[in-house]
C-alpha cells in the first residue's frame, strides 16, 4: 500500500510516458464512484495499468469535531460518518463512551440496538448489492432494492423519527422504546423479505451475465485481505470467518444464533467480486434471523441506564468496536477528565478498502475496476470522515 497517496498520485501523473497510455480521472464526479472519490487511472485502452484512489474530497473533520463538543453532543455527528448505516456509527460511539464511563445499558436497550442495527444492515446491504448490479449495467435490481429499503426506512422512521441520520442511540441506552405494534410490522416485512430474497437471487445473483462479469474478477485472497486490513463483508468475502458480533461480542449479540457467511468461491475463486456480493446477500438473510430472535426474546425494562447529566469520565482511554455494515467500526476515545474527548479516532471499513484498489488494479479492464469498486462497498463520507 502506498505510504503517501498524495505523493503517489503525483508520481503517477509524472510517470505517464508511453504514447499508448492515457490518464483518466474516474471521478470526483462519476456515476460509479459512490460519492466524491477520484480514481486516477493510467490505462492503455481498455486495460488499466494502475489506478490510484485520491481521497479527501469529503473530509469534514468529524474526528476533530468529536474533540470539540461534549460527549453526548457528538452523537448526531456520528450519523454523518456513514449515512447509509448510521445506526452502527451511533452504536460504536455509544459503546466506546459506555466503556469509558463503565456504564452498562439495560438489556432491553441492547436488544433494541440489535434490532435497529440489523434492520439498518439489511437496508445498507440492499443499497450495496443494488448499486453493484447497477454498476454492472442492470438497472432493475437497484430499484427493487430501493423498494425494500423504503419499507425499512418507514419502520425506522416510526422508531426514531428519522429515515437516514437516526441519532437513535444514547450513551447508556437508546432514545426511544419500540412503538406500539411495531414488532408485528417488522415481522410482516421480514416474512416478505425472506421470500423476496429468492426472487432477488433469480433476478440478479445467479444471472449468467452477472456471474460472468464478477466471477474471478478482483480476487483478494485470504492473506492479502488480512494484510490490507480489510473488514466486514470484504474480509469475509475472502473466506476469513471474522465478525465482531461473533468473535468479540458486544450488546445483545451473544444471545442470538446466527451464521457468519463467508466467500466460498462458488462460481469462481474465493475472494472474487461475486463472493463479496453474495456474502452481503446472505447477510441480509442472517440479519433477518437475528431481528426475529431479538423480537421473540425482547426483555421488558428500562431503555436507558442511569447516566450523569454532565459526563466527565475519568482520565483514560476506551475502544468501542462494532460490526458495521461495512465492517469493523472502531472508535478510540481518550479522556482527560473534562466533558469533551481529548482525542477521538474512527476506523472505518471503507477507508481500509480503498487501499487495496491499487493492488488489484494492475492489468484489469475498465469495467472490472468499476466492479471492484462496487464490490468493496465504499461510501465516500466514511472514507474521508
Amino acid at each position: 500500500m502506498p505510504i503517501d497517496m498524495e505523493l503517489d498520485r503525483h508520481i503517477l501523473r509524472r510517470t505517464t510516458t508511453t504514447e499508448e497510455e492515457i490518464v483518466v480521472n474516474f471521478g470526483p464526479q462519476h456515476p460509479s464512484t459512490h460519492g466524491v472519490i477520484n480514481f486516477v487511472t493510467q490505462t492503455n485502452g481498455e486495460i488499466i495499468r494502475r489506478s490510484v484512489p485520491e481521497i479527501g474530497y469529503l473530509h469534514r473533520g468529524l474526528e476533530k469535531i468529536g474533540e470539540m463538543v461534549p460527549y453526548p453532543g457528538y452523537m448526531p455527528f456520528t450519523d454523518r460518518i456513514d449515512y447509509l448505516a448510521a445506526m452502527f456509527a451511533n452504536e460504536g460511539y455509544a459503546v466506546a463512551i459506555e466503556r469509558l464511563l463503565g456504564v452498562e445499558p439495560p438489556p432491553r436497550a441492547k436488544y433494541i440496538r440489535a434490532i435497529a442495527g440489523e434492520l439498518c444492515r439489511i437496508s445498507n446491504h440492499f443499497i450495496s448489492v443494488g448499486t453493484m448490479a447497477q454498476d454492472i449495467g442492470a438497472a432493475t435490481p437497484l430499484t427493487h432494492a430501493l423498494r425494500e429499503r423504503e419499507s425499512i426506512n418507514d419502520l425506522l422512521e416510526e422508531l426514531c423519527g428519522a429515515r437516514l441520520t437516526f441519532n437513535f442511540h444514547r450513551i447508556g441506552g437508546v432514545a426511544f422504546d419500540l412503538p406500539e405494534g411495531w414488532g408485528t410490522k417488522v415481522l410482516r416485512f421480514l416474512d416478505h423479505l425472506d421470500s423476496y430474497i429468492q426472487e432477488w437471487d433469480r433476478l440478479i445473483t445467479f444471472n449468467k451475465i452477472f456471474v460472468k462479469r464478477l466471477a474471478n474478477v478482483g480476487i483478494i485472497n485470504r492473506a492479502l485481505a488480512i494484510d490490507y486490513g480489510l473488514a466486514g463483508p470484504n474480509l469475509r468475502g475472502s473466506g476469513v470467518r471474522w465478525d465482531i458480533r461473533r468473535d468479540m461480542p458486544y450488546g445483545a449479540y451473544p444471545d442470538f444464533d446466527f451464521n457468519v457467511p463467508v466467500g466460498t468461491g462458488r462460481v469462481g475463486t474465493v475472494g472474487d467480486c461475486w463472493d463479496r456480493f453474495f456474502v452481503r446477500v446472505q447477510e441480509i438473510v442472517e440479519s433477518s434471523k437475528i431481528v426475529r430472535q431479538a423480537l421473540a426474546k425482547l426483555p421488558e425494562g428500562d431503555i436507558q441506564a442511569k447516566v450523569a447529566r454532565k459526563l466527565k469520565p475519568e482520565v483514560g482511554e476506551a475502544v468501542g468496536r462494532v460490526e458495521s455494515a461495512r465492517g469493523e467500526m472502531l472508535y478510540y476515545v481518550v479522556s482527560d477528565g473534562s466533558e469533551k474527548a481529548y482525542r477521538l479516532r474512527v476506523r472505518t471499513g471503507s477507508f481500509m478498502a480503498m487501499g487495496i484498489i491499487e493492488e488489484l488494479s494492475h492489468g484489469i479492464m475498465v469495467a472490472d475496476l468499476i466492479a471492484i469498486i462496487a464490490s468493496l462497498d465504499v461510501v465516500a463520507p466514511e472514507v474521508d470522515r
Binding site: G137, A138, I209, A367
Partner: protein, 460 residues
C-alpha cells in the same frame, strides 16, 4: 410573463381537463395513424409509370415526355422521405414513452405520468426541451466533425427505410439487393459513433467511440451471415421476395421452417442488439463506466438526434427480423392473388385493396412492436457484458454458429423435400408455443412466490 402563462400546459389543462385527453389521443393515435395512412397512400404511387399515368389521367399532362419529369419524381420522393423521417421521429419518441412506462412497471415505480394523459406527451415535452437547450460545442473539439457526427447516425438510421416493407405494397422501393443494402447502410450509424467519439476530444467519448466501432463492426459479420439464411431459403435478396416466400401462419415463417433458421434468428437478433447498442451490449455509452460514452459532450438538438437514432433503431432491428424470419406483413389466409384480385383494373386500386393493405400493415406493425417490447424487457433485465466477453461471444460463438446455420440451411434446401419443411414447421411451432406457455406459467409462479408483494395496478 404572459408568454410563459400561454405556454404553461398545466394551467391550460387545469382549465380544460378534457384538452389534455384530446391532445394525447391525437398524438397517440392521430399522428401515427396519419403517418401510416400517408405511407399507405403515397408509397405504392412512388413509381414513374404510376405517376405518369396519374398525371395523364387527372391533369392531362404527358409527364413521361416532359422535361420536368425528374423534378416531379424528386418532389414526390421528398414527400415519401418526409413521411419516413417523421415516422422515425414519432416512433423514436413514442418508444421512449413506452420504454419508460414498461421500465417503471418492471421496477415497481410509476414512470412518466404528468404530461398528457398517462404521461404520453412526455416524449413531446422531452423533444421540446432538447431543442431549447443550449447547443454547446467543447472548445477543444473538432468543430466540423463534432457537428457532422449526428448526421452520419441519422443517415444510417433512415436509409434502411427505403427497402423496409410495411405492407404488401407499402414499401418505398423493392430493391433486388434489399438485404445487402440494409446490411451496408446500417453501418453508417457506427461512423457517427466513431466520429463523435473522436471529435469530442474527451476521454470518455473516445472510449465509447472505440468500443462502438469494435462492437458494431464485429457484429456486422454474424448478422450478415445470419441474414443470408432467409436469403438462401427464399432464393432472393429482395425484402418483398423474402416475405412473399413465407406465409401468414407461424409454421410458414422461415424461423420455424428448419432448426438452423431458428438459430440464425437468435443470432440475427443478438447481433442487431449489439449493432443497436442495446443492453446487454450498451458498451459504447455504458453509463456506469463511461458516464455517457460517445455522446458525453453533446447537448441540445445534436444529443436529441443521437437519442432518437438509438430508440428508432429498435424499429429497424425489429422490422428486419420480422421481415426476414417472422413472415413480415403476411396476413394469415390472404394469398398474393387476393391482393391482385382486389386491386381491380382501374388506375387507382379498389377500396377492398386498401383494406387488405391496411391489414398487412397492421400485422407487420403488431409483430414489430412485439419484438420491440422484447428488446425493452431485455434492456431492463440484463446486466452489461464486458468488452472482451462481447468480442468473444461474437467471434467464438456467433460467427461459427452463423456459418453453421448457413451450411445447414444450404444442405436443408438441397436435401429436405417441402413436406419435411412443413413437418418441421409445425413441430417447431408446437415447441415454441409450449415454451411460451411454460414461460408465462413460470412468471406467474415466481410472482406468487413473493408474499406481500402484489403488483399495484392503480398507478398505471
Amino acid at each position: 410573463m404572459k408568454i410563459s402563462l400561454a405556454l404553461d400546459s398545466t394551467s391550460l389543462t387545469r382549465r380544460y381537463p378534457r384538452l389534455a385527453v384530446l391532445v394525447t389521443l391525437f398524438m397517440a393515435f392521430g399522428v401515427p395513424l396519419g403517418l401510416y395512412a400517408g405511407a399507405l397512400a403515397v408509397f405504392p404511387l412512388n413509381r414513374p409509370e404510376v405517376l405518369n399515368a396519374l398525371a395523364k389521367e387527372w391533369l392531362g399532362w404527358d409527364l413521361a415526355t416532359s422535361p420536368y419529369r425528374n423534378l416531379v419524381y424528386a418532389g414526390f420522393l421528398l414527400l415519401v422521405a418526409f413521411i419516413a423521417v417523421n415516422y422515425t421521429a414519432v416512433f423514436g419518441g413514442v418508444s421512449t414513452w413506452v420504454e419508460r412506462r414498461v421500465a417503471g412497471r418492471m421496477q415497481s415505480r410509476i414512470g412518466p405520468n404528468r404530461t398528457g394523459a398517462a404521461g404520453f406527451l412526455a416524449w413531446v415535452a422531452d423533444a421540446v426541451k432538447m431543442v431549447l437547450k443550449e447547443d454547446t460545442i467543447p472548445g477543444s473539439a473538432d468543430n466540423l466533425l463534432f457537428r457532422a457526427a449526428p448526421y452520419f447516425s441519422m443517415v444510417g438510421l433512415l436509409l434502411p427505410f427505403v427497402v423496409l416493407p410495411f405492407g404488401e405494397s407499402t414499401v418505398v422501393t423493392d430493391m433486388n439487393v434489399g438485404v445487402f443494402y440494409v446490411a451496408a447502410v446500417t453501418a453508417f450509424v457506427v461512423v457517427g459513433i466513431l466520429v463523435s467519439g473522436w471529435a469530442s476530444n474527451s476521454k470518455w467519448a473516445l472510449f465509447g467511440g472505440i468500443r462502438g466501432a469494435a462492437q458494431v463492426l464485429s457484429y456486422e459479420i454474424p448478422a450478415g451471415i445470419a441474414l443470408m439464411v432467409p436469403v438462401l431459403m427464399a432464393g432472393t435478396l429482395s425484402m418483398q421476395g423474402i416475405v412473399r416466400a413465407q406465409g401468414g401462419l407461424p409454421w410458414e415463417w422461415f424461423v420455424f421452417r428448419n432448426p438452423a433458421a431458428l438459430v440464425a434468428f437468435f443470432i440475427a437478433v443478438t447481433s442487431s442488439l449489439a449493432e443497436g447498442n442495446r443492453t446487454p451490449f450498451d458498451l459504447p455509452e455504458a453509463e456506469s463506466e463511461l458516464v455517457a460514452g460517445y455522446h458525453a459532450e453533446y447537448s441540445g438538438f445534436r444529443l436529441a438526434i443521437f437519442l432518437m437514432v438509438e430508440w428508432a433503431n429498435m424499429w429497424i432491428m425489429a422490422g428486419l427480423a420480422v421481415t426476414l424470419f417472422l413472415g413480415g406483413w403476411q396476413v394469415p389466409g390472404v394469398s398474393p392473388e387476393m391482393y391482385l384480385h382486389a386491386r381491380g383494373a382501374g388506375l387507382l386500386p379498389a377500396p377492398l385493396w386498401f383494406v387488405l393493405q391496411a391489414a398487412s400493415m397492421l400485422v407487420f406493425i403488431i409483430k414489430t412492436w412485439a419484438l420491440v417490447f422484447l428488446f425493452i424487457w431485455l434492456r431492463w433485465t440484463l446486466p452489461r457484458v464486458r468488452v472482451d466477453q462481447m468480442m468473444s461471444l461474437c467471434w467464438k460463438y456467433l460467427v461459427p454458429g452463423a456459418f453453421l446455420c448457413f451450411i445447414v440451411t444450404l444442405l436443408w434446401q438441397l436435401l429436405v423435400p417441402p413436406l419435411g419443411c412443413k413437418i418441421t414447421g409445425i413441430l417447431l411451432t408446437i415447441c415454441a408455443s409450449a415454451f411460451l406457455v411454460k414461460f408465462l406459467r413460470d412468471t406467474r409462479r415466481n410472482i406468487d412466490r413473493v408474499t406481500g408483494d402484489r403488483v399495484d395496478l392503480t398507478n398505471w
